[in-house]
Structures are given as C-alpha cells and as structure tokens.
Symmetry: C2
Subunit: 509 residues, 2 copies
C-alpha cells in the first residue's frame, strides 16, 4: 500500500451562511489550494449527508465538478450519515494508496441553516431506526438515553454528571472562542450552561451541537509532504438501540480505532491531541474512552482534571469541536482532519500550546452506527512502531447471512433500561415526551413512549401496551403495586362456600 | 496496484417487487455468495441513487450491514446519480487494489415501483440542471433533444432514425426475452414499437427504460479467480446542455473509456461484447460510438446490420440492457458487471452464442454527467497489450478554479439548436410541452419553453422572452417574417416632407 500524504487543507467559516452548497464547496477548495504545493488533482471525493432533502440538490458530484471548473474530472459522492466527510476521506485514501490516483481533492460540506429547526431535526432523525422514530425518538433523545445509562452504570450522581457535561461544554466553547472558523466564538459560563433549557433530559441546549452551514477540504497526495495518514479505520454498529451489546460505548468507534492504531503501529498513548465527534457533550466523554485515551467510566474525571483542555496532557477538540465550531454534518469529518493538520503544522490556524507530532480524528455517523478514525503524523516524527497491543473489540461476523425479519412482539410488562424526557419533539408529538428503552419479561428490548412523565427511573417496572405502530409504557406506581399485591392476595384466599341460589344447587337431586 | 479479481456475482429478478430495499440487497448478496469461493468479506460498498426520497431510507450503509448480519463491518454508500452502482464498484476496486481490503462485497440497488410514475419521474429529474428543470425538462425530454440533434448532424431522415431506434428496442427486448432476470420477457414487434406513444418526440415509450425495483452484487477480491478487472475509468460532463461542446456524444464516456482502455492495454477491437447504459435507445447508439466500437454517426448502421445482436460480431446488451432488463437506477451499474461475468464464464445466466474473453460495461449518471467504463477479462486469456492508441478526448482541466457565477441574460432573438415536444410532463406543466435549446444572437445557449408546439425545426429563428424563472420562445412564422421585412422596408423609406403644423415650423422665425 503506497503512503498517502496530506498537502493543502482549508475550510470555510462555519455558521449561518448565505452561500449555496456549491459555493461553500468552492470556497473550501480554494482555501485548501491556497496552502498547497499541489495545484492539480486527478479526482474529487465529496462527503455530504443529504443534499437531496436539505437543499434539493441531486447529482452533487457532477455539480461540484462543474462549479469548480474541472468538468471531465472523476467526481464521487460518499455518504455514511453524519460521518460522510470522513467516509469521503477514507475512500479517497484508498484511491491514492492504490496508485490509481496521484492527487485527490476531498471535500465535505452541508447546507442546513435555511431550514427551520424542526425541519432540519426531522431530516437528521431519518438516520434513526424506524421503530424508534415511530415513538418520537430524535438524535438528542437517543443521546440522552445513552447518557442516563452511562450515569447509572458508572454510579455518577445527577449533579456529578451535570458537572462533567458542563465542563466539556465550557472547554469546547473556550477553544471555539479562539477559533476564527467556529460558529460560536464566545466562551460560556457555568451559569449560562445551567440556565440553558433541557432539550432531552439530562441534555441541555448547551450539550448539543448546533445546525450549521460549512465546508472543508483536504488534498491527499502520493507525493511526500510534511504530514502522512499513518492509520485509518472504519466500523459500523447496530442501527437501533435494542440490538446493542453496550449502551455506554460505541463499538463502531472501537473497531475503527483498532484498525487505525494497528495500521499506524501506535497506541493511544502516542497521540498528542485529538478532534472527536462531540455532537453531544457526553459523546466526547464516551469517545475518549472508546479510543483508549481513558478507561471506561473515567472520561469524566479527565475533563474535570483539565487533562483534555488546551493546556492539558491530551487536548481534545482544540478547535472547539462540533459543539462550538458547529456541525454541518457532511463537513465535520473533513474539518476535523483540517484542524489536525493545522495543529501538527503549528500553522496560524492552530490553537495548540505545545508541539504535536501525532494526532487523531474521530467521526460518528448516525447514533454511532458508522464511525471513522484517522491518525495523521508529521513525517519528521521519529518512527514509533509496534506499540499497539490489540485490546480487540469482539470479533466481527464477516459472512453475510441476512437476518430473518421477526415481528417485534413483547410481553405486557417490563423494566426501564434507560429513559429520557424530550422537550423539543418532532412534528406530531407534544412535549414533554417520555421515552424509554424497556426490557420485557422475555428479555427483549423495545423503545416505548411514556403515557406519563413521572416516576421515571432505570430499573423501574412498567406496563407495556401496543397502539398502532408504537409501544406505550406506564410506570407501575407504588399504589399500583399495592393494588396488585392486594389482588394477588385476594386470589389466594379460597372462595367461601356458596350460600345464594345457584344453578348447581337447583340441579342437585 | 494489486490486481482486482471478481469472485461471486448475482442479482435479484428485476421488475416490480414487494420486497423492501434492504431485502432486495440481501437477496442479491446471497445470490453472489452462492457462486463464490469467498464467503467472508472485509467491507460493503453500496451504490444507491436516492433512497432518501424513493423510500425514506437514510443511513443506508449501516442499515444494510445490519440487515446482512455483519454489523461492525465497514460499509460505505457511494453515489453518482444513475451510475451509483458503477461508482460503488469503482471505489471498491480502489479499496482492494490498495491492499487495504482483501475481499469486498459491492451492492447496487434501488426501489422505485411503489411510487407513481410522476413521483418517480420528479425524483429522477432532480439530477438535471435547475434552469432546465424550471422549463419543464425531464430526462426523456433532454434525451429526445440530443436524439433530434444527432439525427440532424448525421443527416438521417425521420424514418431512418425511427428505424434505427426501433431496431435497438427490438434487439434488446429479444435479448431480454431470454433473460429470466429481466423485467420484460416478451420480444416486441416493429408494429408494437410504432404503436407505442410518444413520450418526448422523437422518443416513444418503447425507447425509454422502465421504472424498476432490483439489486445486484459482485464480490471483488485480491485472490486470483477466473475474471479480472483489467481496466476501469470514470469521467464527468457538464450538468446542463448549454455548456456542452457536443450534443451528440458524451464526453464523460469518452474520458472513462480512454482511462479503462489505457489501463487494460486494449483497443475497442479486442472487446468481445458489452453492456451499455441504454436508458434511452439512442443512448445505446451514441455509447457504442463514444466507446470507439463504431465511428461517430455509424452506430445506427451497426444495429441495422445486426452487428450488435446476440449473433453479431459485437453483441451489445445481451442481457436486454436497461431497456428490457429494467433500470433500478443504483443497481444497473452492478448488474451490467454481473452480466459481463456471466458471459465470460459462460455460466447458465449467459445468453451469448460464442465464447468471449474480454467484455466491457458502461454506466451513465444523470444526462451523461458521471460515467464509468469497466473492462473485465478472463484470466486465461492470452495477454494482449499495447494495442491502445489514445485517440484522446480533449484534455481535462485539473486545477480547480471556481467558475464565476454569471446571471443568465440572453438577447431577444435566437435560433433553435435542438428541440422536443414532451407528452409526459412533470407536475405543473401541461402536455404537449415544446422545449428547445436556443442559441441567442450573442451565441449563448438557453433552455426555453415554447409558447406553441408548431413549426419546430432545428435552425429556425425564434423570439425569446423572460417570464419569472423561465425563458419562453415563439417561432418566427412565415407571416411574422413578412411583417418584419415590411417594417424594415417601411423604416428604409425616407419620411415625406412634413406638411402639417409642427412645433419646429412654429418656432422658425
């Protein structure tokens, strides 16, 4: 496999833009070319999540080749939901590594802010499993359910969890305030964090990345430059929550990271800084654990101790991350690599305090269903190899054998595995909306909508019923339980000998 | 670059299916695995054009990994409009050629028949340039305009053109009638061809490929098998008609073919048979010319002489092509390669009469805007190299430099470059609808909608006017011309000396 180097990188300012999607791509391309020794490319690889529905643009690859004045040149669009930019980079890496192309321009972008929040949320929610969507689940709702489960698993108090999430938000906004390309350029205070409204408990507005326009560009080349992609990996995970073996980590990241570390011959310890997919603040914590930077359940401590801040041992999201730089979905995976390269080059764009030799970018598609890890090293770094000890995520089944579709039928009672109260609901659902992942008596998991928002707690018993295309749950209250116990008691008392007139009596001879 | 071989190939029956998109993909995958020595794959590369709008499926790559029971495995979606399947194969080729993956499952599919024809046509039309769409242009309309231009350029009479197109349709339906996977399994007669209604003059219903459900699968591997991809290439072309240097050929195909032939070291003469993108019958003719099988303008003769029929020297579309096998857009590019491999293997699927060693598949995205050429050879073929003499399509500009957007302003008069009368119109347009590509006095081209459908002819003079977001044209009739000539004459007569009272007279001292 030929080595793949990075020449020019660049991006647009992220935020609300009056430019069209094509214009954003062009601006990012010019920005990358302006710092590139390579000015001619053999092909375009374009990452964009859903231009069909966001802006009504189809056939986007040909359209961008046209707009860039390179009609004739091969141009491909690659898509893996919100990691589409990383996916385009991944495919372009293989194109250059194969020797088929010498120089490739990778673009990532999305145009979203012209839509209402509810319209954008609806399109973003299409990446979610249908059964979950039918209950009213959105991306923030599922992220919130994962967060609540994480809190429970690692025995964090509500206030401790809030403190951790607040620290992530404050760190990333502080970093973003130093980034001229970021959507939000103001630090936030603890006070403003706690003043921000709940989107889906326990996640507040300040835990969620914004809706953004923007594009980013990276030129990959077979010619040696000062930065090389030394490791790259991809992994997928189940679309729905109910089929996951863990609710507190993303296996897709673990698989992608294992491949990237193995290829680079590096262990997580050798990474000097990282850009990770903090679409929600808890995802930054989980991600730093999945990447092996911190042990499971300890990502929160690291942020509290300042290890991941700009001056820390392992800066995470020096750019401000998706949280503060913004999240034009198709652009984010490419923008992370732009930031990584700026950091390694100590170019004007970087916010890093110390010199860095090896950095990592991690991108997430959907609810952790299609993730990428890319490791970039300075080519003047001393070779550090053989440090990678596979901790091996569970082996992946590689023989395609379609799953038999089985109807989702669940018993009438179960227990809450995790839950949230959603305050920003999709069309057709009134807030506040309680959602829970319920494990029924047979051990099956199902997403269900609460008939009431009170008494929610992990482990609590619920009744389940089926209504049209969704499941509804009701928490068994203390009173319900007393009533049930009484009923049971009543049933256990033998009936008194009958004294009234009965047909049996009549017929006794 | 490592050699890339083909192991198993397979496909679903094409047509109207009650299966979901995921089920179609699974069936195609099983079909490919059933004939494959390789049963385990490292990744999935999925070509699908627009599941977001056709079926409401987003995050399709993760969804298919789930459905195939290989969650965890990397899965990418690749898209280039109607050549998405070929694009996925292209990206997968690079992934295996690089050594990054050993075995990759390539899938192409689309689910379309559950929608009304008008809804499906609307989604398909989104690949067209916006200005052209605003006039009511659809894919058949643009294909028809290209056909009319072709007829004029090569001086074919209307009846000669009709005869050629009918021969293509009859040949492909005859081939399809022998193909158990084809959507249409009945040969058609000349009579039924001429009885079929015009969709967009000169194209009839029997000149257009149908709306179809289906999926196809190919397993690529670095392990030597009996078939190797010896050449592969991609090219793009302008999105709109007005920026093309030719209306009678597709530069995107020529660029893709040049790369593929060069890589394989083969000339068009060495190709034994080919599957080409006959979404419209005239496109098969143009394609066989762009691929260098026949000189420009001579593709029609070839089909009339039977050269491209199953018994001919160079069978084209032995499967029945898109015309008769059907055209589930994302599937077609993969299905072509499945057919090519069946033909080379002389497996039960093939309809070929003679042994073949080298075959070619050509796929078209949009209106010839993103095209692919793939050459597959039997590995037991004697090496034939160095036969490729580059006829070189015009060189491609490789330095991205965004085009300055300039407002489309045209003068008030012009001439028809090509035209059609559209009988199956998109929503908001009443049939019959006249459309013409008009060259104005300054030499600019513009798509315009006719105020009338009579007197249309290439070269005819028209008036142009701007109305909202579209241009309208009116043919200058004989009467108009006489009136104009009279006006001019009138203007040329010097005014008679004034006799009445005028201010000038009054003020003369």
């Amino acid at each position: 496999m030929a080595a793949v180097y990075i020449a020019g990188v660049g991006m647009t300012k992220f935020g609300k833009s009056s430019q069209t999607l094509a214009e954003l791509f062009c601006e990012a391309a010019i920005s990358a070319l302006s710092s590139s020794p390579i000015q001619e490319v053999d092909a375009l690889y374009i990452g964009v999540m859903n231009p069909e529905e966001f802006t009504g643009d189809s056939n986007i690859a040909s359209q961008i080749a046209d707009a860039l004045g390179v009609t004739g040149l091969p141009a491909l669009r690659v898509e893996t939901a919100s990691s589409a930019g990383a996916a385009a980079l991944h495919a372009a890496f293989q194109a250059v590594a194969s020797g088929y192309y010498q120089n490739v321009l990778v673009l990532g972008g999305e145009k979203m802010t012209h839509l209402s929040t509810s319209a954008a949320t609806r399109i973003l929610a299409e990446v979610i499993d249908k059964q979950e969507r039918q209950c009213g689940a959105t991306m923030p709702a599922l992220a919130a359910m994962i967060t609540e489960r994480y809190r429970k698993k690692y025995r964090l108090s509500h206030s401790r969890l809030e403190h951790i999430l607040c620290q992530v938000a404050m760190k990333n906004h502080l970093n973003g305030s130093r980034n001229p390309y970021a959507q939000f350029q103001q630090p936030i205070t603890e006070r403003s964090y706690f003043a921000s409204k709940f989107v889906s408990t326990p996640l507040r507005l300040y835990d969620c990345s914004p809706i953004t326009d923007g594009a980013a560009a990276v030129i990959l080349t077979a010619e040696k430059t000062d930065a090389v992609i030394s490791g790259i990996g991809q992994g997928t995970g189940p679309l729905n929550l109910r089929e996951r073996d863990s609710f507190t980590s993303f296996r897709a990241t673990q698989i992608a990271a294992a491949r990237a570390y193995e290829m680079a011959g590096l262990s997580p310890k050798e990474i000097d800084f990282a850009e990770v997919h903090d679409a929600f603040t808890p995802f930054e914590i989980i991600c730093t654990e999945d990447l092996g930077f911190f042990p499971p359940g300890k990502g929160g401590n690291a942020v509290e101790e300042g290890k991941t801040s700009l001056n820390g041992l392992l800066p995470i999201n020096p750019s401000g991350g998706l949280k503060s730089r913004g999240h034009p979905v198709g652009a984010s995976g490419v923008a992370q690599v732009v930031e990584v390269v700026w950091g390694l080059r100590r170019s004007s764009g970087t916010k890093l305090k110390r010199e860095a030799r090896r950095a990592l970018a991690q991108s997430t598609g959907g609810l952790g269903t299609n993730n990428f890890v890319t490791i970039v090293e300075r080519t003047d770094s001393p070779v550090v190899k053989g440090l990678w000890k596979p901790s091996s995520p569970a082996p992946v089944h590689r023989h395609p054998s379609p799953k038999q579709p089985r109807p989702l039928t669940v018993s009438e009672e179960g227990r809450i595995e995790t839950f949230t109260i959603l305050y920003v609901t999709p069309d057709g659902f009134l807030p506040p909306l309680a959602l829970a992942l319920v494990r029924d008596r047979q051990g099956s998991l199902v997403m269900a909508q609460g008939e009431d928002i009170s008494h929610l707690k992990i482990g609590r018993e619920v009744y389940l019923r089926h209504l049209g295309d969704r499941y509804l749950f009701t928490v068994k209250s203390h009173l319900t339980k007393v009533r049930e116990a009484l009923k049971k008691l009543l049933r256990s008392i033998p009936p008194l000998p009958s004294k009234g007139k009965g047909p049996s009596k009549k017929e006794t001879p």
